[in-house]
C-alpha cells in the first residue's frame, strides 16, 4: 500500500487541481460587497506604461497609481474587479502576441495599441467602436455632456478614426519628440547654441565630427529615419501641400491634421508621378536624409542609444518625452541639459525648402482600445465605465504626474513642469503624412528595410528610389479598388489642381 501511496496522492492532486479555479490569485478574490462564494470574472486591463509595476524609462519606483484608481473604481462598483495584465510587446512592433490573443478572444478587455496597427484588423471585429459612447456624458466629470468634450485636443482624438470612419480608441495623453542636448558637452566641443537652420546644423555637426565625436543619435531602432522622412517631407512639400490635399481632413480633426495626406491621397498622387524617380522633391528628401544619417552612430541597430547620450558620448539625442523621467530623476546625471527641436530647412540646403518650422510627429501616446473580449465576456459596459473613470482630469493627472513621460490630454489635468518644453513643441503643426504608418503590412516593412539598407550604404539613391517606386506601385495596386480609396472621387479635385501639380513633376523631365 505504501508503494501505491505516492501514485494515489499524485492522481488525487491532479484531479483536485483540475477541479480548482485556474489562475486563482489574490487579485481574483471576491470583491467587497459581492455575494459570498460568487466568482468574479475580472476585467483585464493593459495600460502600457501606466500598468502597475511598470518602471517608465527604467528609473525610479514602479508606478502604482493605476492600481489605486482600480481600487477606487471597484469600491464604486461592488462585485466588479480590475486585473492588470501587461500586453507582451514583440520586436516587430506589430503586436504579434496580442493578435494571437485577439484571435482566441482572450486578450485583455482594455489594451493600449497604436491605432494604425489596430486599423488593419478592425474589419475582423477585434475592436469595439467607441463613437456612440463618445457622445454620452462621462458621469465622473461634473457637468460633462459628451465624453469627447472632456479631451483637451479633441481633433487629436478624432484623428485616430480608422479608415472605416469609426473611432476605436481614446487618447488620454500626448507624446512628442525633441532634441535633448548636453549643454556642457556641446560647449566643450565649441558649440554654444542649438542650430536654428539646417545649414547651421550641418556646419556644427561637421565641426563636432572633426573632433572625433558623433554629433547626434536617435531613439530606438532607426526610428530617426522614419521620423526624419516625415519631417523633411513636410518642409520640402509645404508649398504645394494645399494642392496635393485632394481630400480635406474631416471637420472634427482638421485642427490637428491640417493638410494631412491620407493613404489613398498618397496612392492617387503616386499614379500621377509623385513619390517616384520623376518627383524632384522626393529625390531631395531622400538625399538630405542620407546626408543627415552620416552624423548618426554607425550602429543603427543599437537599441540603447539613450545610453550614448546619458554617458556623455554623444551630445544630442532625438527622443520622445519618454526620456524626461530619466533626465529629471537620475541622481547620477552630471551634465546640464536642454530640449530643442529639429532646425528649419532653408533654401541654402534645398531649393524646395519652404523655410517654415519643422512640424511635429508625435501625437496620441496611450491609445486605449476595448477588445472583442469585452463582448465575449459580457462586460463591455463595465469596460466603458472604467475607461470613463480613467479619463477624468484627476485620474489622468495622477497617472501622468507619476509616470512623468506624457502630457495629459484631458481638460483640467495639470502637466508636470518638466514636460513644458514638449508642450511648447507640440503647438507646432502636425506633419503632412506619417509615411510608414500609412502603408500596410509587408509594404511598410519593405520600405523600412530598404530605407535601412539605403542609409547604410547598401544601395544608391537611384536604386532606393526604384525599389520604393516598385513597393509603392504594389501597394497602390492592392488597395486602389477598395471602396474607401475611391480614386474616381479624387479626379475632379485633381483636374482643378492639375496645372500647378503637374508642373512639379514635369520640371524634372
Amino acid at each position: 500500500m505504501l508503494t501505491r501511496l505516492p501514485i494515489i496522492l499524485l492522481i488525487s492532486n491532479l484531479i483536485l487541481s483540475g477541479c480548482g479555479e485556474s489562475g486563482k490569485s489574490e487579485n481574483s478574490k471576491p470583491a467587497p460587497g459581492s455575494a459570498p462564494g460568487s466568482t468574479i470574472r475580472p476585467i483585464k486591463v493593459d495600460l502600457n506604461v501606466y500598468t502597475p509595476g511598470t518602471i517608465p524609462s527604467g528609473i525610479g519606483k514602479p508606478v502604482e497609481q493605476a492600481d489605486h484608481l482600480a481600487h477606487e473604481w471597484e469600491e464604486l462598483h461592488p462585485g466588479k474587479k480590475i486585473l492588470y495584465q501587461q500586453v507582451v510587446s514583440t520586436g516587430g512592433g506589430e503586436g504579434e502576441w496580442l493578435k494571437t490573443q485577439l484571435i482566441g478572444g482572450i486578450a485583455p478587455e482594455i489594451i493600449h495599441q497604436n491605432a494604425e496597427i489596430a486599423w488593419q484588423d478592425v474589419d475582423k471585429g477585434w475592436y469595439i467602436p467607441l463613437d456612440e459612447y463618445m457622445e454620452k456624458p462621462n458621469p465622473y466629470i461634473p457637468g460633462n455632456q459628451r465624453w469627447i468634450e472632456s479631451f483637451k485636443n479633441q481633433d487629436l482624438v478624432n484623428a485616430k478614426k480608422a479608415p472605416d470612419g469609426k473611432l476605436y480608441c481614446i487618447s488620454i495623453d500626448i507624446v512628442e519628440t525633441g532634441l535633448y542636448y548636453n549643454k556642457d558637452m556641446l560647449r566643450s566641443l565649441g558649440v554654444d547654441s542649438m542650430p536654428r537652420t539646417w545649414t547651421e546644423m550641418e556646419t556644427q555637426f561637421k565641426k563636432i565630427r572633426e573632433q572625433g565625436v558623433t554629433p547626434m543619435t536617435t531613439a530606438i531602432m532607426g526610428l530617426g529615419s522614419d521620423w526624419g522622412q516625415d519631417i523633411l517631407f513636410e518642409m520640402i512639400y509645404h508649398d504645394i501641400l494645399p494642392d496635393m490635399d485632394l481630400v480635406p481632413s474631416s471637420a472634427d480633426s482638421v485642427g490637428y491634421l491640417g493638410h494631412y495626406l491620407e493613404p489613398r491621397e498618397a496612392g492617387y498622387l503616386f499614379t500621377k508621378g509623385f513619390f517616384t524617380r520623376r518627383d524632384p522633391r522626393w529625390r531631395e528628401m531622400n538625399r538630405i536624409l542620407y546626408e543627415w544619417r552620416q552624423h548618426w552612430p554607425m550602429e543603427l541597430k543599437n537599441s540603447d542609444t539613450a545610453r550614448l547620450f546619458l554617458t556623455g558620448r554623444i551630445p544630442i539625442l532625438w527622443d520622445s518625452s519618454f526620456l524626461i523621467r530619466r533626465l529629471a530623476t537620475d541622481p547620477y546625471l552630471n551634465f546640464e541639459w536642454g530640449v530643442a527641436y529639429i532646425p528649419t530647412l532653408t533654401t541654402e540646403t534645398c531649393r524646395y525648402a519652404s523655410g517654415t518650422p519643422a512640424t511635429v510627429i508625435g501625437g496620441a501616446a496611450i491609445q486605449l482600445h476595448i477588445t472583442n473580449s469585452a463582448r465575449i465576456n459580457n462586460n463591455l459596459e463595465d469596460c466603458i465605465d472604467f475607461l470613463m473613470y480613467l479619463s477624468t482630469p484627476q485620474a489622468v493627472e495622477r497617472l501622468a504626474s507619476e509616470a512623468l513621460i506624457f502630457i495629459p490630454n484631458i481638460k483640467g489635468a495639470e502637466m508636470s513642469p518638466e514636460l513644458k518644453p514638449f508642450d511648447e513643441i507640440f503647438q507646432r503643426r502636425y506633419c503632412a503624412i506619417k509615411w510608414l504608418e500609412s502603408m500596410s503590412g509587408q509594404y511598410k516593412k519593405q520600405w523600412r528595410r530598404m530605407l535601412d539598407l539605403y542609409l547604410n550604404d547598401g544601395m544608391s539613391l537611384d536604386e532606393f528610389l526604384k525599389v520604393l517606386e516598385d513597393n509603392f506601385r504594389a501597394w497602390v495596386e492592392e488597395h486602389r479598388n477598395e471602396p474607401g480609396w475611391d480614386f474616381a472621387g479624387m479626379d475632379p479635385v485633381w483636374q482643378e489642381h492639375k496645372d500647378r501639380l503637374q508642373k512639379e513633376i514635369e520640371q524634372s523631365l
Binding site: 508503494t3 501505491r4 501514485i7 499524485l10 492522481i11 491532479l14 520586436g91 516587430g92 506589430e94 504579434e96 493578435k99 494571437t100 485577439l102 484571435i103 488593419q120 484588423d121 475582423k124 477585434w126 558623433t214 531602432m221 552612430p297 554607425m298 550602429e299 543603427l300 541597430k301 543599437n302 537599441s303 540603447d304 545610453r307 550614448l308 554617458t311 558620448r313 503590412g441 509587408q442 516593412k445 523600412r448 528595410r449 530598404m450 535601412d452 539598407l453 547604410n456 550604404d457 547598401g458 544601395m459
Partner: protein
C-alpha cells in the same frame, strides 16, 4: 560484436525491445496497468493537442490562403509556386546556406578540437575543471547571450572599444547595420564556438574508445596526429552524426538569434532566414497560409536530410551483424 550470453547478434536485441518487454514479468508491487496508462494518457494527450494537431493543421493550411482570424480558402499549390518565385524567400535561403556552412564548420570542428585537448590532459582534476568550465555558460539563456552580443556590436560595445584601444578606428563599423558585415556578425555570435554540449558529446565519444585500441595504435607507432585522424575521428563519427543532425535542425528552424540581433532580418534582407520569414508572414503580414507553406518546406527538407543521413551515413555500430562480426 556478439553478445556472449546469447546466440543472437546484439543488434537484434536492440531492434526488438518491445518483444523482450512484453515477455518480461512485471515486478511485484508495481502500480496497476490502468494507473500507468492513465498517467501516460496525460502527456500523450498534451503531445497530441499541442504538437500533432497544430502540425496537421499547418499541413492543411499550407494549401490555403489564410489571413489570421479570417476564413481560409483552398488554393492548392499556389503558395508553393509563389514561394518558388519569391525573391525574398530565395534570398533567405541563400542567407541560410551561407550562415549554415559557417555555423556547421564552426560548431562541429571547434568543439572537437577542444574535446581533444581536454582528452589529452594528463590530470583528471584538470579535465574535470575544463569540462565544468565549458558547461557553466550553458546556464545562461540563449536569449541573454544574443542580447550580450548585440551590445558587443553596438557603438559603445566591447568590440568598438577594443578596436579603438588598439588604434584600429578605421575597422570600427556598424556591424549589424552594414550589409557587408551583418550576416557574418550574426554568424560570429558564440565565438569561440566551444559549445559545452558539443564538447561533452565529443568527449564522451573519445572517452569511450577502448584503451586496447589506443595502446595498439601506440604500439603500431602512430603519432599523436595520426591517432587523432585514424583512430579518434572514425570512432567519434557516431557523435559527429548526432551533432550534425542537431546542428542542421537548429540552423534551419532557428531564427531567434537573427530576430534579437537585427529584429527583421535587415539591413534589407541581408540576415533574413526562412524561419524568420515564416514568422513574419504568419504574424506580421498575417499570411498564415503562406507561412505554413514555408514551414512545410522546412519540414520536408529536414525530413529528407535526416533520412538521407541515416541511410548513407551509417557508422559501424549500425551495420548488419554479419558484416561486423
Amino acid at each position: 560484436m556478439i553478445d556472449r550470453n546469447s546466440d543472437q547478434p546484439m543488434h537484434e536485441h536492440a531492434l526488438s525491445p518491445t518483444r523482450s518487454l512484453r515477455r518480461r514479468k512485471r515486478p511485484p508491487g508495481s502500480p496497476p496497468l490502468a494507473v500507468i496508462y492513465a498517467l501516460l494518457f496525460l502527456p500523450l494527450g498534451f503531445l497530441f493537442v499541442f504538437n500533432y494537431i497544430p502540425a496537421v493543421s499547418a499541413l492543411y493550411h499550407a494549401f490555403t490562403d489564410w489571413d489570421v482570424g479570417a476564413q481560409s480558402h483552398w488554393v492548392g499549390l499556389k503558395n508553393f509556386f509563389e514561394l518558388s518565385r519569391d525573391p525574398v524567400f530565395l534570398q533567405s535561403l541563400y542567407n541560410l546556406l551561407r550562415l549554415g556552412i559557417f555555423v556547421l564548420v564552426a560548431n562541429l570542428s571547434v568543439p572537437f578540437i577542444v574535446a581533444e585537448m581536454i582528452f589529452h590532459l594528463r590530470s583528471e582534476q584538470w579535465r574535470f575543471a575544463c569540462r565544468a568550465a565549458l558547461v557553466l555558460p550553458m546556464v545562461v539563456p540563449g536569449v541573454v547571450t544574443f542580447m550580450i552580443w548585440r551590445y558587443i556590436y553596438s557603438d559603445a560595445g566591447i568590440l568598438t572599444e577594443l578596436l579603438t584601444f588598439l588604434g584600429l578606428q578605421d575597422w570600427v563599423r556598424g556591424w549589424l547595420s552594414q550589409p557587408k558585415t551583418a550576416l557574418w556578425a550574426v554568424a560570429c555570435v558564440g565565438f569561440p564556438f566551444a559549445y559545452g554540449v558539443n564538447v561533452l558529446i565529443y568527449y564522451a565519444g573519445l572517452a569511450n574508445i577502448s584503451s586496447d585500441v589506443l595502446e595498439a595504435a601506440e604500439v603500431d607507432g602512430l603519432g599523436k596526429v595520426g591517432r587523432i585522424f585514424l583512430i579518434h575521428v572514425p570512432l567519434v563519427l557516431q557523435q559527429f552524426r548526432l551533432l550534425l543532425i542537431m546542428t542542421v535542425i537548429g540552423i534551419v528552424n532557428g531564427f531567434e538569434g537573427v530576430f534579437i540581433l537585427t529584429e527583421d532580418g535587415g539591413p534589407g534582407y541581408e540576415t533574413l532566414v526562412p524561419g524568420l520569414y515564416m514568422y513574419q508572414n504568419g504574424f506580421t503580414y498575417q499570411r498564415m497560409g503562406y507561412a505554413c507553406a514555408i514551414g512545410l518546406l522546412m519540414l520536408l527538407f529536414l525530413l529528407c536530410f535526416t533520412l538521407t543521413l541515416n541511410r548513407y551515413f551509417l557508422t559501424e555500430k549500425y551495420q548488419p551483424a554479419r558484416e561486423t562480426v
